[in-house]
Symmetry: C2
Subunit: 733 residues, 2 copies
């Protein structure tokens, strides 16, 4: 098999002699610089593509300092302050914020700021409060508060320091480095800033004939990332739009949409419309408005890049607001590729599934940084872990390219590591080579994930900060992580899509998440039409899998609004007067491969079966953790939580077959008996990739047809013994 291509390596000055050998060994066909490294002079002679990072909205501090009125802003909320009496109440709006990052923007504050009585929800009229102070020492005084009510001040603020650069600066202690400055951004809405962005990109391109790929890191508006008064992270939302505001933008919005925006549209009670909130119409409008604007401007930058016969590559993160790659305007940017950090199978699919670009690239872990590449560090272990996660995803939908970041000079000091990534590069390329552009075969069971966001946040559900662990999400993220490596055609469907008929294309629907969130749906489930659509779907033979607190909103004697389909509901205390006699039936198709206890992570509280007809597959501490329910012609499955593990991925695999009423097919679709092993079938090639996801050796049997998952080929049974982490191509026939 070919051993060249599809790999990007970070290079740096001072390694000139070693580079040709390293590139050849890894089959790398592209190089890049990283934050803090520069391309060596030899670069043009390496015969590979050259990437260089580019920062459109903070690259030039001279411009930034000369145009402080062009700094981006965000909407922030003060602390909640209780009025101890009806005397005037002074609120230090900056309390808890970092003065090096935040400075209130007092311009036309009566239009843009808002004081709210949170006890009643009423807005305090602008005549009722005043602002004193300047800079970052600003007080809002409410003249006549209602005693014992809680007040907040929503205020527009300058971003005095770019959030990502601030993060790098404080994390790496650059305050001791005299060559570093605190970088300020500039807002693309500002006419001079926009002119400057275009002209400086043009100049940059002119000056760099050796660069083939402009790696935008990223564009204009940062995700919401605010620091506290101790300089530590205070609020983070990787999907946040509250740092994209400006009077200019909000006025333009009003002109177009015909209604005024108010601070609370962004502040959202202090939750800042994070992606767990069921989105309001206004916030959806804002996303649409800003995305359209941002994508249009990005297109102009991409056009400049193309003028110079270079490619435009977007880094998925940082100042990516408005360029969500599954958004409806992204394809119009003309972007050539997207590169993103791969932290899991799900984040890998988030990148590899992006439509409308020529290529996707995953930046693998670990970074070549001294926190891992040091004596006692385990770069090899991290590379293995990262690859085992990513390989599951890549086998289903390959990234076009992979790459690394950081200091190559550090990595080469770890020969085991270098040898391993050489293997990984080859393993990666083999999937492309065998597949010949065809994807691995998928089950004919069509699966959809149903939530408030749908396609816009494909593979991005239940995420707070990119790929980080949070207590409230891991039990749900495991569902995505499992699906990222399972052979299903997966759709992400919004509630609106569901009402508009999208469920017709599906066999099994998943609703996953905590009550009240955008992912389970919250109040949206009060809509009888939505309920009806789901019940019709199941009535027609579809399957509904609920995980956590699916369809949860208290009404009419039920908490899970589709408790009739799922066969379970949650005890909030009101129905404990009803006696229950739960009986566990542990043997079931869904649990056939589950040898130990079911791990439901944080679980979902006290779940009970609504009728005796519900099959309780796992009962723990008097609560149902897994249930299966025949609901008319269709089926419901309930799981209390599903953190990722091999066992849980297998459980979900089986649950989907059961929900689709297709369990009869399960045993001859090349599904290994060992849940630690997975198979991707490339039926056009007549081959299958058998992957041992375990770090130890694994034995397994598997049975399938010579024709692949489907078709009328004859049945074959194989017995395989696999090395630790091994992937092996087998012939189907």
């Amino acid at each position: 098999m070919a051993t060249t291509g599809r790999v990007t390596l970070p290079i740096e000055q001072g390694m000139g002699d070693q580079l040709p050998g390293l590139l050849s060994r890894l089959g790398a066909d592209a190089v890049r610089n990283s934050d803090g490294t520069w391309l060596p002079e030899i670069t043009p002679q390496l015969g590979v593509k050259v990437y260089e990072t580019y920062f459109p909205a903070r690259g030039n501090q001279e411009f930034a300092l000369a145009h402080l009125d062009a700094r981006p802003r965000f909407y922030l909320m003060s602390e909640r302050v209780t009025a101890p009496s009806a005397e005037p109440l002074a609120i230090d709006i900056m309390k808890g914020y970092y003065t090096l990052q935040v400075e209130p923007d007092q311009g036309d504050y009566q239009r843009w700021w808002e004081v709210i009585d949170r006890t009643t929800g009423e807005v305090v009229p602008v005549e009722g409060w005043s602002v004193t102070g300047e800079g970052s020492d600003v007080t809002v005084t409410i003249a006549e508060p209602v005693a014992f009510h809680v007040y907040t001040v929503s205020f527009l603020s300058w971003q005095v320091w770019d959030s990502t650069q601030m993060y790098n600066y404080t994390t790496n202690n650059w305050e001791n480095d005299p060559t570093r400055v605190r970088e300020i951004g500039y807002d693309v809405r500002h006419p001079e800033a926009w002119e400057f962005m275009m002209s400086s990109l043009r100049t940059w391109c002119e000056e760099r004939p050796e660069v083939n790929v402009v790696r935008f890191t990223t564009f204009f508006y940062h995700f919401t990332l605010v620091f506290n008064d101790l300089g530590k992270e205070k609020y983070v939302d990787w999907f946040g739009y509250s740092a994209s505001v400006s009077p200019l933008a909000m006025d333009a919005f009003e002109a177009e949409y015909g209604y005024k925006l108010r601070a609370e549209d962004f502040i959202d009670e202090g939750y800042y419309n994070n992606s767990f909130r069921v989105p309001t119409k206004v916030f959806r409008d804002w996303i649409d408005f800003q995305s359209r604007f941002v994508c249009a401007r990005v297109k102009e930058l991409v056009d400049i890049v193309h003028e110079f016969d270079k490619e435009a590559l977007m880094f998925l993160g940082d100042t990516w607001m408005g360029t969500e790659p599954y958004g409806k305007y992204f394809a119009e940017t003309g972007m050539d590729g997207v590169v993103g950090s791969v932290g899991s199978a799900a984040t890998c699919r988030m990148i590899s599934d992006i439509p409308g670009v020529k290529y996707t690239e995953g930046r693998f872990l670990p970074y070549f940084f001294p926190d891992v590449f040091k004596p006692g560090g385990d770069p090899l272990g991290e590379a293995n872990e990262s690859w085992l996660q990513a390989r599951r995803a890549i086998s289903r939908k390959p990234l076009d390219r992979i790459g690394y970041g950081g200091y190559l000079s550090l990595a080469v000091q770890f020969p085991d590591f270098m040898a391993r990534i050489e293997q990984i590069a080859n393993e990666f390329r083999s999937i492309h080579e065998v597949g010949h552009g065809h994807l691995a075969e998928r089950s004919t069971i069509r699966v959809g994930v149903l939530n408030a966001w749908g396609e816009l946040r494909k593979w991005q559900t239940h995420m707070v900060a990119h790929a980080l662990w949070y207590k409230q999400i891991y039990s749900y993220l495991g569902v995505l992580e499992s699906l990222a490596g399972l052979p299903f055609d997966l759709q992400f469907v919004s509630f609106e899509d569901a009402i508009n008929g999208r469920l017709d294309d599906l066999d099994v629907v998943l609703n996953v998440g905590a009550a009240g969130t955008a992912f389970s749906g919250g109040d949206t489930w009060l809509d009888p039409e939505l309920q009806g659509v789901l019940r019709r779907f199941v009535g027609n033979g579809g399957g509904l899998i609920g995980i956590g607190e699916p369809t949860a909103v208290l009404k009419g004697g039920a908490y899970f609004q589709l408790s009739d389909v799922l066969g379970v509901d949650k005890e909030l205390g009101f129905s404990q007067s009803s006696d229950r006699y739960p009986v566990e039936t542990p043997e079931h198709f869904i649990t056939a491969d589950l040898k130990g206890a079911l791990d439901v992570g944080e679980g979902a509280g006290d779940i009970f079966a609504t009728t005796r007809d519900t099959a309780i597959l796992r009962l723990q501490n008097r609560s149902v953790e897994l249930a299966a329910n025949q609901a008319g012609e269709g089926r419901g499955v309930y799981i209390a939580g599903l953190p990722y593990s091999h066992d849980n991925a297998r459980l979900l695999h089986r649950a989907i077959y059961w929900a689709a009423d297709r369990e009869a097919d399960f045993d001859h679709q090349w599904i290994p008996s060992n849940p630690g092993v997975e198979v991707a079938v490339f039926e056009q090639a007549g081959k299958a990739l058998v992957m041992n996801n375990l770090t130890g050796a694994a034995s397994t049997t598997l049975t399938g047809r010579t024709s692949g998952l489907e078709g009328d080929g004859e049945l074959r049974e194989l017995q395989l013994d696999l090395e630790p982490m091994e992937s092996r191509w087998i012939d189907l026939a």
Copy 2:
């Protein structure tokens, strides 16, 4: 000390010779029969008071069978049924019910029954459905349901079998006993039934000159107790009023209150207004209406009893609906006493605190029944456990009498047990004798439990079925159980009381329970006035202790509406974008006696500190389990749950002192250093009762003033070594 009186013993036929000796040994001054036993002929010669049980509303089956139209009814709801299409939907309303207990009452069903679309909450017009069938085979057909909506039928039903007698019948397998019949009740609203009740009581009294005390077991309407189609308990609410309905009563209600009742007022989405539901105005009206009626009728029965120079004693339970002893009409009944089963310290206080009666009596565990009094049974152990629980309560507020129930002939076969209850009787009497009618001294810290029920359900919060363990309640019941033995003046305050100024009489307020329930308050907390009353209370130096999900209802960016006072809130998923840096400060006045881990029972989910000022005293799995917060002049304490234990009772004891800003007093108020030991100070007697609550020996020091808890007496420190379970009187000076 005297060793006679205040004790009631069950006696039975065939033990004549032994009785005088047994009565003397135990100092019993009263005897009673039990279910299934009859008083022996010697009874009048025993020289003690004689109790006999009396059942006003089911005592005569001849009358019952002759007046089937007088049977009591209840309101029941069918199963939830999903319409699979718009075709007529037939609902078998009896599905899941026990035909031997339930028979639909089709009289004027269009007025009394209700078909509800639970998906929308709308009532289906009576023209839209019809009833077919008879007896217990009844179907309701909805002519034109909306496809995929969920429907229920609320129907009025006859009680074909008295619930308590049914329970005894099925539990004791009386179906094999030809002398037993299934007893039917009769409704006191029925004029003939009422006439019969009065005349038969009169006759009964006439025929029993030897009986001194008529033990009513109980009156007219049973608490809600419904069985399922397998004859097992289906729904139980010890406080339920849904078995008190009848067209007669509801018409009378309408005439008085001026508005019509509907089925849903009782059905309440299938929750039947159990005491965890925040009560509606209608339901409160119904309680008032029925209580007034029931108490008036009870008064007439009591008057008859008094005519015969007998006393009237009410058993607290079974058909006790409308005679809730803390209700506003109960005292008017003229009842002489109340007897109830003591299952814990809290249920003991529930009885001993009843106002307006001449005496209270606790029926202790174990019953002299063959389930315990058998080879291998441990009656002694149960007696000890029961006594240790009750003694805590009795030392604070004594019952006037104690007693036992069951078959004395069984108990006498266990001499250890008989010896122990002899000791218990003496220990019990000593509290009365030393106290001389004075209660043990209480801390000057005035404590209130704040919930929707207030005084009406004093000591009865968080209870589903009398004194039974439920998963969702034990973490809250522990608060009551702790308080029942702590030296505080305890008020039960409703939200309405709080708004009307009742907090002025308190120093510390507790709000305890799960979100949305009547005990934490649910939507009631949306009332700014209520919030304001609490904040003013704390602002004036009061303390608020929240346990579980206090003040919880999502609004305005907070879930705990008084999160500003408590210093904590609960993470529902919306605010996880906010970074938290919890730091535990384990050393604190509140935790000073807590040696091991804090047991919060089921806990309350993910609790976080709202500011850095909150002192996190216990942090577990990233969640705050115990916190203390200075809130202006007052203080807030948060505890995630408090199942009863010696350690938790002590923790609450300390938390109350801290919340009241009185921790400086704690060390010299005769509070033992050992949390397994408690002290009741009788300052008028100059004595204190030191109680070892442990089943092992205990050593402790205690320091207090010779004047009692307060006063200017000099300080004394004692060192005591106590036998297992010992109680010892010490002199204060």
